[in-house]
Structure formats: structure tokens, C-alpha cells
Symmetry: C2
Subunit: 478 residues, 2 copies
């Protein structure tokens, strides 16, 4: 029958999603058995104790319970600016949070997003070219669905990459064309590598149609420089590639000398013909930044140089699932227009946001330093995003033991780490790896006060593991 | 470039979604121009003034603002049972509404859904076989994605059907195999028709793999009888078809003599070999019923006789988009375990629910009677769901005028209706039609007190339209 394993759509079977793969499943089992698990496999800040920002939660709670707005006691629990904002957002809906919105999202929120982009980049943004989505992932899937027609359509994806891309490309039956980020250059992007990747794909009959950048990088944490973005956009122009800019970590920046610069801004700065021709889709979310509202599932994408007829097609496909959830649309509105100085809630909002961001900055450093103190582990500093991606140089004895256990070496290492310490990571092979090179990804999200203990526990496991498997045959190559 | 119209994935271009098609777009334009529009194109109760149920909104508001639970004044705005429930649901999350849940949904809510199904059907239900989704549509798309491998894979879909099915099948590149519901038998399903449809599809090289039933029917409003369900399940058993049971309107029942019976219950009643072999996936939602929480995007599906390995594959694909939104998961929990007699909020909850349901029942009757009083309009009674689907017998003059305007006849009629009255409907052709037969779909959701005026306005338009175009050449055939 159609839902027997042998009869399933092969593309479904082919796709892999390591962030919730073997390691996650084993960690869930161990948790059920009573073991304390530190879930650093996915960027899920609230699950690791990060408190939600108060003001947006007040506003959305009031939108969920609009009858409170008429209650004379409402002021005892909610500040006046939250009440005013809730009324504002309810006025943008056509029936509150329980009514479907337009399939592109509420027009009023899309206008607020456009204003945010204009302030950020200094260039106009059109609300009609902004679609709200149930998280950024859903937006990426919608756009790739338009681009991919079959197995000969290729998408350039960084390696290491976030497996949303590899999984979605498999599911849609396209071809992933890898380009390698350079670990020795702090995970920088070399346009020569891109050219080689495209040439090689073409020699295999693949028509390369789009390129993905993740900036700041996931899992690699680097911020692309303006010069680098310029090269990428010029490359897309020359090769007629759609650029998908995954910019969901744009608020997660930990080095003042490496700010986030949007692909849209660089493209507009470049002027004609680039600014009028390069097709760009940029993605953002309420799940990351200092918001971390993952469970709300809110995101948007902005389209640049996409013809109106195609925008209509994307609208049509979005409409099949009716509308993104409305409460997350309001979170998006709040994220792009947070309290301003002088507002009642401003001080608290600023204090909470700053507290989270500064702690993330400190945690990025504790984690990088911790990894670099371990035997056979080297780790670039996390400039942005919320991950650390140390390289684990596995001794031949470990490779052999992994082979005997029937595991990929980094999976073998991460499983041992999980069993010994409860730390649930993602093996680097889940993100793509150069042959013979091994990494793992952890988030930098565990609570700051627990971080030293976690890193001690990691170091103890790692150094014992290395000693156990070390012998005279050298290491896996850098 | 890949996002030029000519270069798009053809399946994207092919798919049609009439519920938000030409009529909806024109209605939105007219609304912008200041015209009062009555949006009956989509089952969106809150957009037409239905008030949300108070208790679930209180609970979810508290979950959004968990800091209120520690506020000594919380009892001034929220009843004690809402507070207790909010604590209960927060305890089922791993970090509140801002944390991703398991990709299948919160285990604790899936358990509550299983208990609901057990109470409803009298048979065990396994939470591990229940997945929560961002609305039922997303669940349907996930399952069809597993079933459809290419254009030779066929899915049996009722005609008239809800265009989610036709659009998704197009998008996934499969083949829709229509079976016709019988208007003269109150939209009943004749298994002989099914056999003919399957035989015809097979003669064209289509491998029929699954069958969709919508019960209660959308747009047709009928409830399938137990005997009919039994025949369908036997047919699926014999033909080795997966049955997709779209049961999202199971709470919307307007005739006591035609209750809703789930496909799962009938299958279990049938016993071995059927109950052990027929693959069934049943869908439900928080968007319909007397809840109407469309904008929250909450749904579930339950799998019966799906092998564990396939359940894992479906889990893997669900995990690519991380998790359904968590607040709608809590709405689902509340829907399947509403306040009980004796609870503080029970009386209010029961009064509100009953009020909505009884009003829908009255509105179904006002609308059917209204349509049947119009010239050249005949309409079956709405037994369930939230739609009315009158047949419009268009005179030849109207067919000719439509042709001249370059419109499908029912689109022509519905556009004229919209311009004249502001009533935004969906032409029957969007749901599939027998050749030469025309309908329109409206929801029964406009406010009860406005209903007589709306029906008067409809009748006035229709009767003038018919008089204008009527001549001696007869009507479109019944």
C-alpha cells in the first residue's frame, strides 16, 4: 500500500535532517530514562532557560484575550503601552487572532517590516514584496519549491550548512551543489571556490539556479564582510543565480568590528545594473536574536527584483495553507518596532534585551575558549549566530572503533559524549564536511552560570576519549 | 533567471486555489476602494464576527504571559480553573510557548488527543501515532507528499472537493482522479462511481494510491452514513488504497438524525482483516467546530495501520520545519479536553459553545431556504460543515455573456454578484463540477441578524440577473 515503506516517495526517504536525527532521538530516549540532558542540538533558547521578553508577551497575551481590554482591572496587570499596542495590532486584523489573515500576512505588519528594512538599509522596501511565514524555514521551503523543477536543477549551498537546505532540496528532488567555507580563514567564503563548484556541477549536467548564503553563519558563526557580499552578488549577477539570503541571526552579533550587513543593502549600494537585476530573497525570524521565540513560528521573507507575476504565483501557493499563524505575525510586528525611548516599557525592554545579548557574547567566548583548551580540539570564535563549531581531530583508534560500531566517526564521538555527559550535540557530518574532517555543533545557549560546569564536563570526556583512542598513527587531517 | 515566470517549477504554475482566487482578489480590491464586502469565500468565523470562546483564550493568554501566574492580582482577571490549566499546559512544554516542541507536537497534548479519540470512538488510540500540525492543511500536505511519487500516482478526490486537494496534488506533481458526489442524492457517495473512476484512471496508466473523503462535506455539507463509510473502507481494502479522512467539521452537525461517525470507528467496528490492514490517516483542526480558531493554525492527524518505519519517515519530514506553533497545540489540548461540569468556567463555556452551534444550525436553514426561494436556484440542506452549495441554473443568455467576457460562467455570475451586493463567494468550478452544471459556495457564517438582509440582497440580484439573461433556449442542464 502507498504508505508502506517500499512504496513511499523516494525523495522523502532520501532526505536527512541531522539536527533532530540519531543524536536527538537517543538523547530523548535517555531523557525518558531519567538522565539529565543538555539539549544543545538546536537553537532553542527558551528550552535552556532564557526568559521571554516581557513587553511582547504582554501585548500578545492581550491580543489572545481581547475581552481584558474592556476590564476595568486590566491596568493592574498590564502597562498602558502594552494595552495600546494590543489595540493597535488587533485593529490590523480582521477578527483578532482567531481569523485567517491574508495568506501573505497582515498588511499592517508587512508595512512595519518594510519600515524596519528601510531604517536598517537606508533603501525603500515594499510591503507587497514581503510575505510573513510560519518561521523562516517555511519561507525557504516555499521559495525552493518554486525554483526546483527536477534533479538537474542545482542549488549552491555552503558546506558546512544548516540541514534545512539539504533536506528541502532532497525533498523537492533537486541537486545540492556544495561550496566549501574555509575554516582556516574563519569560515570565509572564497569566490574561486564558488566558480569551481558551479563549473563542476555544469560538467555533470546540472543547471545551477540559486545560491544560499547563511549570514551570520550556521553552524559556523562567521559574519560575511561587505566586500565578500559584493563579490557574491556580482557572481550571482554574472551566473544569473537567485540569491537566498538566510539572515535569521542578524541580531546575534558578538564582535563590534564585524557588524551584520544585509545582502539587500550591499546590492542597493552596488547600483545599476546589479541593483535592478539580481534576484534576491532574504529571510528573517522571531526565533533567533534576543527574542528566541522559536515556538511561536514567525518569520518573513523580502523579495527583490522578483517579477510581479512570480510574486503572484508565490502568493497563490502560500494561500493553499490559508495563512501563517496570526499571533506570530504580531511578534514579528513587535520585533521590527520594539518600544522606543520614552515609552513606559522601554527601560525594561532594553534591560532585558541587552542582558540576553551580552550574556550570549560572554557565553560565545567561554565556549570557544573551553573548546580550544581541549585535547585535539580547535575552534574558531563565534562572531555571530548562536553556535560553536569546534573541529575534533579524531585519532585513528577512534576511527577504527567507529567503523567497528558501524557509525560515522563524528556520530560515534557525539554519541559517546552524550552517554557520558548528557550533552546533546549535532555531529558535523550532518552539516556537510570535507573528507576526513570532523566537527560537532553545539549552541552557545546553556545558562551562563552552568556554562563552566558544562565545559569542564566536556573537557573531561574529550581528553579521556582522546587518551583512550590515541596511538602513534597520527590524527585525522586538518 | 530561476525566479522568472518562464523558469518556474511548472507544478507551481499549474496549481489553482479558488478559495483565494480571482473572486477573492477582486473582493479585496473593492474593499480597498471602500465597498463593504461580506467575505463568505472562506470558513473564517471570527472574521465575520464570531466571538472566541473565553476559557481557551484565557488559558493561552496566561501561557503567553507566564509571569502573570506569580502576580497576586492575577485572580482579578482570570478564573482559577484557567490559571490551573495554564500551569498544566506550561508544565507540558520544555520552556513555554517560545520553545520549539518535539516536531510531532507536545507529548502531553498528543496524549490528550488520544484520550479524546478513545472517548469518541470507543477504541484505543496511541499518542505516538498522532502528530500535531500548523492547521489540518499542513498535515494533508505532509501525507500527500509521502504518497505521491510522480504524475502516474493518482489520488481519488470527491467532486465537488475542497481545493486544498487539487492544489496540493498539482504542486506535488501527482494526478487527481475525480469521483462524483450525487447532488440528487443529497451529495451521497456511490461506490459504483468509485469503481468506474478507478478503472478509468488505470486504463490511462494511473496507479491509484489513496482516496480522500471529506466528512462532513466541504463544500457539499453532507454527513456520510455508517453504511456508506463501511462500503468506502471495504473498497479501500480491496483496492489497497490509503484513506485520508478529512474530518475537520466533525463538530459542525446540524441534523440529529445524521450524526458524525469517524472513519476510524467504522474501521474498528468492521474488525479483522479490515481493522488491521486498511491504512487510514484522519485529520482534525481547531479552525472549525464552534471554536473557529483559524488564525491560530492548529491541527492534528492520527495514523492507523501505518508501519512504524513510515511513521518515522513522516516524523523526519515534519522535523525539517522544526515544530508546529506551540500556542495552537494548547488550543488543540483545550479543544479535546474542554471544561467539565462542576468546573468554574463550565457554564460559560457550555453557554458560548451551544450559542454558536445553535445559531449555525439556524443559519444553515435560513440560507438553504433563502437559496431555494430564488429563481433558477436549488440547494440541498447543509447537514454539517459550514457551507451552502446552491446550484445556479444559468440561462443560455448568461452563458453567452460569460463567453463574451472571457469568463467561466459561474465565475461570471459570482463576479456580478460581488459587484452588485458585496457578497464574496467561490464559483463552483473551483471545487470541480460536472460538465455544464454550475454552483457557488458560500459559508453559513455571516452574523445571524444580518442573514435575512444578505439573503434578500442575494435574491434581488439573482432574480434580476436571471430575468435579464433568460430567453427561450432553456437552462444549463441539471
Amino acid at each position: 500500500m502507498a504508505l508502506d515503506y517500499d512504496a513511499l516517495n523516494e525523495n522523502v526517504k532520501k532526505c536527512q535532517y541531522a539536527v533532530r536525527g540519531e543524536l536527538y532521538l537517543r538523547a530523548s530516549e535517555l531523557q525518558k530514562e531519567g538522565k539529565k540532558i543538555i539539549f544543545t542540538n538546536v537553537g532553542n533558547p527558551h528550552a535552556l532557560g532564557q526568559k521571554p521578553l516581557t513587553f511582547p508577551r504582554q501585548v500578545v497575551a492581550l491580543c489572545q484575550a481581547p475581552f481584558l481590554l474592556d476590564d476595568p482591572n486590566v491596568g493592574m496587570l498590564f502597562p498602558a503601552d502594552a494595552i495600546a499596542r494590543a489595540k493597535h495590532y488587533l485593529s490590523l486584523t480582521s477578527g483578532g487572532l482567531g481569523a485567517y489573515s491574508d495568506s501573505r500576512g497582515l498588511p499592517g505588519v508587512r508595512k512595519e517590516v518594510a519600515e524596519f528594512i528601510e531604517r536598517r538599509d537606508g533603501y525603500p522596501s515594499d510591503p507587497e514584496l514581503i510575505f510573513l511565514t510560519d518561521g523562516a524555514s517555511k519561507g525557504v521551503m516555499q521559495i525552493l519549491n518554486c525554483v526546483i523543477r527536477g534533479e538537474r536543477d542545482g542549488i549552491l549551498v555552503p558546506v558546512p550548512q544548516y540541514p534545512l537546505y539539504s533536506a528541502t532540496i532532497s525533498l523537492l528532488g533537486g541537486s545540492l551543489v556544495p561550496y566549501y567555507l574555509d575554516e582556516s580563514e574563519n569560515w570565509g567564503l572564497d569566490v574561486n571556490n564558488l566558480r569551481q563548484s558551479v563549473a563542476q556541477a555544469r560538467s555533470q549536467g546540472i543547471s545551477v539556479r540559486a545560491m544560499v548564503i547563511i549570514n551570520p553563519g550556521n553552524p559556523t558563526g562567521q559574519c560575511l564582510s561587505e566586500a565578500n557580499l559584493r563579490e557574491i552578488l556580482r557572481f550571482c549577477y554574472n551566473e544569473k543565480l537567485v540569491l537566498l539570503g538566510d539572515e535569521v541571526y542578524q541580531q546575534n552579533i558578538y564582535q563590534d568590528e564585524r557588524p551584520f550587513i544585509s545582502a539587500k543593502k550591499v546590492l542597493m549600494d552596488m547600483g545599476s545594473p546589479f541593483s535592478k537585476e539580481v534576484q534576491l530573497v532574504s529571510f528573517h525570524t522571531v526565533s533567533k536574536g534576543y527574542w528566541g521565540e522559536c515556538g511561536q513560528r514567525g518569520g518573513y521573507f523580502e523579495m527583490t527584483n522578483i517579477p510581479p507575476r512570480v510574486v503572484e504565483e508565490i502568493y497563490k501557493v502560500a494561500s493553499i495553507a490559508l495563512s501563517p499563524n496570526v499571533s506570530a505575525q504580531i511578534f514579528m510586528g513587535l520585533m521590527v518596532s520594539p518600544p522606543k525611548p520614552g515609552d513606559i516599557s522601554y527601560d525594561q525592554f532594553a534591560r532585558e534585551s541587552k542582558g540576553i545579548l551580552e550574556s550570549l557574547r560572554r557565553r560565545a567566548k567561554i565556549m570557544t575558549d573551553g573548546f580550544n583548551s581541549c585535547k585535539n580540539v580547535v575552534c574558531n570564535f563565534t562572531e555571530g549566530a548562536m553556535y560553536s563549531f569546534p573541529q575534533i581531530r579524531l585519532p585513528p583508534g577512534a576511527l577504527q572503533a567507529a567503523k567497528q560500531a558501524g557509525k560515522v566517526p563524528d556520530v560515534f564521538y557525539c554519541l559517546k559524549l552524550l552517554e557520558a555527559t548528557g550533552i546533546s550535540t549535532v555531529p558535523g557530518s550532518g552539516f556537510g564536511q570535507k573528507e576526513g574532517v570532523f566537527h560537532l555543533r553545539t549552541t552557545i545557549l546553556p545558562a551562563e552560570e552552568e556554562m563552566p560546569e558544562i565545559m569542564d564536563s566536556f573537557k573531561k570526556f574529550n581528553d579521556e576519549f582522546m587518551t583512550q583512542y590515541e596511538n602513534n598513527f597520527g590524527y585525522s587531517r586538518m
